[in-house]
Amino acid sequence: MKDHRISRRAVLAGSAAAGAYVLTGIPARAEVNWKKYAGTRLEVILAKGPRGDNLQKYIKEFTALTGIEVESEQIPEQQQRQKAVIELASGKPSFDVIHLSYHVQKRQFEKGGWLADMTPYMKDPTMTAPDLVESDFSAAGLQYAKNDKGQMLSLPWSVDYFILYYNKELFAKKGVAVPKTLDEMAAAAEKLTDAKDGTFGFVGRGLRNANMTLWTNFFLNYGGEFLDGKGNILTDGPEAIEATKLYQRLLTKVAPPGVAGFNWMESMASFTQGRSAMWIDGVGWAPPLEDPNASRIVGKVGYTVVPAGPKGQYSATYGDGIGIAAASKNKEAAYLLCQWAVSKAQGARLLQAGGGVPFRNSILNDEEIRKGVKMPAEWLQSVIDSAKISKLGLPVIIPVAEFRDLVGAGVTATLSGADPATELKKAHEQFRPILERSEKA
């Protein structure tokens, strides 16, 4: 509650300052005219989750600030993506503002021309608060939000870095140090595995499609790049094979049985019950890990960046943004809402609750905001460190889902003994025509 009061005060202070300018007649700079679109009604389509909750919870403040009425609905992620794509493709979407998943939808939305260009609004001082500048977003965020012409098609909202979660108690029991490289991690996982006791060194996603988000951490750290200069996919090269070998070794030798069918939920269950010592997954799982009702390892979780590979150290990055439907008739009002959603006050709330990590550096670097974070300090540090080594975790192409399914199935097959090189080659041959067709169309 305290945080809310602070931010509200900040808003009031801002308005008071604006008023003072008007009264004193110092016309030094144009101010945002928040009330210009009062009375407009906006429809918003959100993916279910902490970002959607955070927007809906405080939307009254936005209406009080702007006089814009907002109708919003939260739909489970998969269905939200489908609904949005079908409506946008029809040319008459029922919403003005859309919450989009960059790592799946960026290229598809750009190609469809479904999002409105925000660049002119961002340059207009009567529409954009002075603290919202492009350079405040992290590099990954800008990479996601901008198209190849440099237009801002959305505002980066929340980023998902992959980090290494580890169980400090199990580490101490076996006298293992926190790994700095992937090789050290594999060695540590072997020491931590005690199959008789039912504890394993490593757990992570094995399920086809879902597993790609973990695998790409290895792929990037082995020096992999998704696409060459001509847009050809490169997931059957030596980097991919090495990454898959590591993935295979970890998930078959030092991971719980059945991991080939694990998504994040089963992995998290194994980790929170203290049955797996390490887990690489999205940064957003700290709240359930630190919740005494859901976890047996509260206070024992270590958080750190993904260990380095032979060719570098990257944190595979995913994220979501908020944009305006190109077909919307209320683009200006919609822009004000997008701006408010990624504002400092809203971003601080998101970060402090552990519900997401804003793309904006000014939020992450703000001491006051950091103090209010309810998650352990180590978690916050892993976020900040990951931001420095962030790299997009999936190729920016249209058929992301097919990519994840096909390569993911090949990677999963290696868990039942298939040869990494053969599987990757097979997946590659199946996927290449799909990619070529998608870019030609």
């Binding site: 489908q82 493709a89 069918g261 694990f262 269950a269 889902a401 399914d405 039942s416």
Partner: protein, 312 residues
């Protein structure tokens, strides 16, 4: 208006063949709403799906007519071929097991014993649960490290199993959930049949010295066969189109080991947005269901004939 109606009816009746049932056109306005609804929500979507299957139709891209190309893709698509196999195995198992167990349960619950009512009520409870909700519960029960199923096995000295987390055991494990949920339905249908059976054949059989098994084999089973068939038909249709349990527990995985036609169709149409190819799969899937329904109806007719006996 009335003259017009009379005039049309006069010409129509003149044209109608003698002896054929004749409906005066004045009924037509009452038929039209139903006709419109059927055309709009059944016939039109079907024709449209068939039309879509002749096109390369991707959401967000222009569509082009490709003739039968989508159908040619099907036999060369290993995922589709595998999905057909999975659907057959999944359907066969999830019809056979509930039908056998459900018939057995019906016979057991037909007998009189204490607390029968309460036990029957408990037995049909799984049927009342929401499939997605129970699917999530079963997912955690299947967990190889933490699941209660492996714990129960360990009590009787059996080592941990991988259940839905291994390609070889995933379909039988999913069938286990399906069986758990739908055996009660079969039991209810068959129990209704048994309750309606006459008692005389049993009495004369007893006088002839027939045992329990003989009575079941030669009296009960033939008489309840039509009910078993209805149960099997309902189960078959449900099992072929089963989606929720598979999708919620495995999403077709590990790999694509539990991907049925339905699950694959969903991926193609709504995840890859390849509506043309998805429509082709839907058309083939529909044709398969029609064939299956025809076979089942034919078999059901045959059981009726044997029931009535030759010469009837």
């Amino acid at each position: 208006m009335s003259t017009l109606t009379e005039a049309t009816s006069a010409t129509a009746s003149a044209e109608a063949a003698p002896g054929r049932e004749w409906r005066p056109p004045s009924y037509w306005p009452f038929v039209i709403p139903a006709l419109v609804v059927v055309l709009a929500i059944i016939v039109f979507p079907w024709l449209f799906t068939i039309w879509m299957s002749f096109n390369e139709w991707k959401v967000g891209s222009p569509t082009t007519f490709v003739g039968l190309a989508n159908y040619v893709r099907l036999p060369n698509d290993p995922r589709f071929v595998e999905a057909v196999g999975h659907t057959v195995v999944y359907t066969a198992l999830s019809v056979l097991l509930p039908v056998i167990l459900g018939t057995f349960a019906a016979v057991v619950f037909h007998a009189r014993f204490p607390f029968r009512g309460i036990l029957r009520a408990i037995f049909i409870m799984p049927m009342m649960a929401t499939p997605v909700a129970i699917a999530l519960v079963w997912t955690m029960m299947f967990h190889p490290q933490l699941g209660v199923l492996n714990y129960l096995l360990s009590l009787v000295g059996i080592g941990p199993q991988l259940w839905v987390f291994h390609p070889a055991t995933v379909i039988p494990s999913l069938v286990l959930v399906e069986t758990w949920q739908w055996t009660p339905l079969v039991m209810l249908i068959v129990l209704g049949g048994i309750a309606a059976l006459p008692t005389e054949p049993y009495e004369s059989a007893q006088i002839d010295g027939a045992g329990i098994w003989q009575m079941f084999r030669y009296i009960t089973l033939p008489l309840i066969l039509p009910f078993v068939f209805i149960a099997a038909m309902i189960r078959t249709i449900d099992a072929v189109k089963s989606f929720d349990i598979i999708f919620a527990i495995t999403q077709g995985g590990p790999g694509s080991a539990s991907e049925t036609i339905n699950v694959y169709l969903y991926s193609v149409a709504f995840v890859y947005y390849d509506l043309g190819y998805g429509s082709a799969i839907a058309v083939i899937f529909f044709a398969l269901i029609i064939v299956l329904a025809a076979v089942l109806l034919y078999l059901r007719q045959r059981t009726l004939w044997t029931e009535i006996g030759p010469g009837a």
